[in-house]
């Protein structure tokens, strides 16, 4: 996907009409838009966001506030009514979509609802453009759907990249959005849709078996009740998720305000809290892993735990008898095997004959009777003695390993307790600051945190309930399948049911594999690019992305470093992630980066200038860049990929920025 053209009309400092036609050639898909600070580079990025998504993420304004400030000031001062318009043409091989957003400013105020009629999207269908004008919600939904398919809003900050908003990357709550967007760009939702619909169809088919026997009808009725109950629980979980997201965002907003608070060392305290919270999160994960390890270890040694005392006692008894401390001694003084041999050979070792019926033979037979039992025990005890010795050795190892695991587990809890204590102290400290605003923010933050905790607890309970209902449905379904199998009259329905069931099974398997494959590849590529771009790679050990798309960067000693990355390093991480996503998903968004090298100095700047276009070689890349960033060396590094260069020139008297295309060698 490439941006072919951007049209601006009276948008902020772009007075009148302006058009930028970007280079879309595969070999030269790098566009440079050069401009000093304040001439409109960031506003070009804002214009793209406003046109496609109706907001400007770099400004914390409501849509209504935004509308009031995006018109060109000079135009607004001179005319009664000003039309503000941004149009963007996007496509793969040619412009396939043209998005346009317009509002009228000045004159009679137009309310927000009324603005819908100015939203327009045109799609190339065959050779004709089909236009959807924003006259009703249906068409607006069409606009949003098309945007969300080709450039999903959830991950736009990874392709419309604002250098000044780097701290938003990888912040709490973002990972959920990232996961959702990845599922969308990788089309995993297609699999979900098929599974959901086949499940409905499968239910419809089973219901048609109702007439076959009364038990089928009863089971079907039971399943239906369970499905209703499942739906109810799922809805409750969704509501809780929404509450958790809202409370998390609210808490994050409050924390942001605390972070920005310049008085009473609040910033420092908040930074310490951020670090502690990250630490707590890390310890919680470790505790979870350790708990699993302890459970596994426990299960593997259950015989040691319950049998240890008995085995030890047995060993002690045998040992005492072997050593003659206790009687009868084992082995006995005369072994039964020797006596049996004498009887078999009819001769004693002293040479005395032992014929049948002789008194000597009878004496030996009596002796054999008295020792044969103890001899047998002795043989068994002998064998058991060494076996028990080995088991007891294993027991000791198991015990020491268990003690070690339990100690590690206790230490982790101790560490967590200390961090919790410090977090409480921080909260008390903030509440004690003699400034109402800070106290209120802290109280607010704690109330959001309590809400999150409560919702998470409730959610876990609901998940258990859901699992329980799902298990019951499975059992009922198995019963139903058995009953249906008995009914040989409805072969066709059975075949349909088999097809649906088998396909659902296969689709679930495919989904699981694709989701994991995408995550693994994104992780691997992010790591590869991060280490390639970083100037001090020896400081880092690993970059991990877990199943929830939470990113962690590990230092050489294994500690979490994400929170302490510099702005430049975060920029590199974000670039690496975006490039990885682009490579793995096959999703080729046009990448626009504002001040791409602003936070990176010296040599690394050249390295990035050289490498970045290579990582994104299949993506169109547009850089909004200052003179300080676009040094001769950087320019030289990029020259082979550059398709077009533009310069933004601001005319103060006219309050207008002109977009001038530069010649190749200028």
């Amino acid at each position: 996907m490439k941006i072919y053209k951007i049209e601006l009309e009276n948008y902020r400092q772009y007075n009148g009409e302006h058009t930028i036609e970007l280079s879309t050639e595969d070999a030269h898909s790098l566009n440079i838009i050069l401009g000093a600070n304040g001439v409109g580079k960031t506003n070009l990025l804002n214009a793209i966001n406003w046109c496609l998504y109706g907001d400007e993420p770099s400004l914390e304004k409501t849509r209504l506030e935004l509308q009031q400030c995006i018109a060109n000031e000079k135009e607004l001062a001179e005319k009664e009514q000003v039309v503000v318009r941004v149009g963007i043409s996007i496509g793969d091989e040619q412009p396939e979509y043209h998005f346009e957003r317009t509002i009228c400013m000045g004159g009679n105020p137009i309310d927000f609802e009324e603005q819908r009629k100015y939203w327009r999207v045109a799609c190339l269908e065959g050779r004709n453009w089909r236009s959807y004008n924003g006259v009703d919600w249906k068409n607006m939904t069409q606009f949003n759907n098309i945007v969300s398919e080709i450039l999903p809003g959830g991950i736009r900050s990874f392709f419309f990249f604002d250098g000044e908003r780097l701290d938003d990357f990888f912040r709490k709550g973002m990972e959920h959005e990232v996961k959702k967007a990845i599922i969308k760009v990788c089309q995993i939702e297609l699999l979900d849709r098929c599974i959901d619909r086949l499940t409905i169809k499968s239910r419809e088919i089973t219901k048609r078996f109702t007439g076959a026997s009364s038990s089928v009808a009863d089971i079907n009725k039971g399943i239906e009740t369970l499905i209703q109950s499942k739906k109810g629980i799922e809805q409750e979980i969704k509501d809780l998720d929404r509450k958790i997201t809202e409370a998390t965002n609210n808490k994050e907003d409050v924390v942001d305000k605390l972070r920005k608070c310049g008085e009473y060392n609040v910033q420092e305290v908040q930074m310490e809290r951020d670090e502690l919270e990250r630490g707590v999160k890390g310890i919680d994960k470790k505790i979870e892993v350790k708990e699993r390890e302890i459970k596994r270890h426990f299960a593997s040694g259950i015989v040691f735990i319950f049998g240890f005392d008995a085995l030890e006692k047995t060993y002690e008894l045998i040992d005492q008898r072997k050593k003659g401390i206790k009687q009868p001694r084992i082995p006995p003084d005369i072994r039964d095997k020797f006596l049996r041999d004498l009887l078999a050979y009819h001769r004693c070792i002293c040479g005395t004959e032992l014929p049948e019926g002789s008194s000597q033979r009878e004496s030996i037979e009596k002796l054999l009777d008295s020792v044969k039992f103890t001899s047998k025990i002795s043989d068994d005890a002998d064998e058991g003695y060494y076996k028990i010795a080995n088991i007891l050795e294993g027991c000791k190892k198991f015990k020491s390993e268990r003690e070690k695991l339990e100690k590690e587990y206790r230490d982790m809890h101790e560490e967590r307790k200390k961090k919790d204590q410090r977090l409480k102290e921080i909260s008390e400290k903030l509440k004690g600051i003699p400034a109402d605003e800070i106290q209120n923010l802290e109280i607010l933050r704690n109330s959001f945190e309590d809400e999150i905790r409560m919702c998470i607890g409730e959610r876990s309970q609901k998940e258990l309930q859901l699992q329980n209902v799902e298990d019951k449905i499975k059992i009922k379904n198995a019963e139903l399948r058995k009953e249906i199998e008995k009914d040989k009259t409805q072969k066709k329905l059975r075949l349909k049911l088999e097809l649906c069931d088998k396909s659902i099974e296969v689709l679930n398997e495919i989904k699981e594999k694709v989701v994991e494959e995408v995550r693994e590849k994104v992780e691997q590529k992010t790591k590869e690019y991060f280490f390639d771009l970083h100037w001090k790679k020896e400081d880092f050990k690993d970059v991990n992305i877990n199943e929830n798309y939470e990113i962690s960067v590990l230092g050489q000693l294994g500690s979490e470093r994400l929170g302490s990355l510099s702005a430049g390093e975060r920029q590199i991480l974000a670039l690496s992630f975006m490039a990885a996503l682009s490579t793995v998903s096959g999703f080729k968004a046009p990448v626009v980066i504002d001040t791409p090298l602003g936070r990176i100095s010296g040599e690394p700047k050249e390295k990035i200038a050289q490498s970045l276009p290579n990582y994104l070689e299949d993506s169109q890349l547009t850089l909004l860049i200052t003179d300080q960033e676009y040094t001769p060396t950087v320019r030289n590094c990029m020259k082979d990929r550059v398709g077009k260069e533009f310069e933004l020139q601001y005319d103060e008297a006219e309050m207008n920025t002109e977009i001038v295309e530069l010649g190749g060698d200028e």
Binding site: Q187, I188, K496, G586
Partner: protein, 64 residues
Amino acid sequence: MAKKEVNPLIWDEIEKCPTDENIKSFIKELLLFERRHINEKSPPYSKEYDKLIEKYSKDGGGNK
């Protein structure tokens, strides 16, 4: 609709899947239908699914 319009990762996974060809073809057709209607919140799927289930269950469904 061309195959390339469904993410190749999904397509490859279907190909690799050790199940019978009948199921694979059925799933592919379902995916292509969903791909065509990806922008619609509630596409008219019922008839299309019924048609495909009818078509693929004729010769033994999943047991072919």
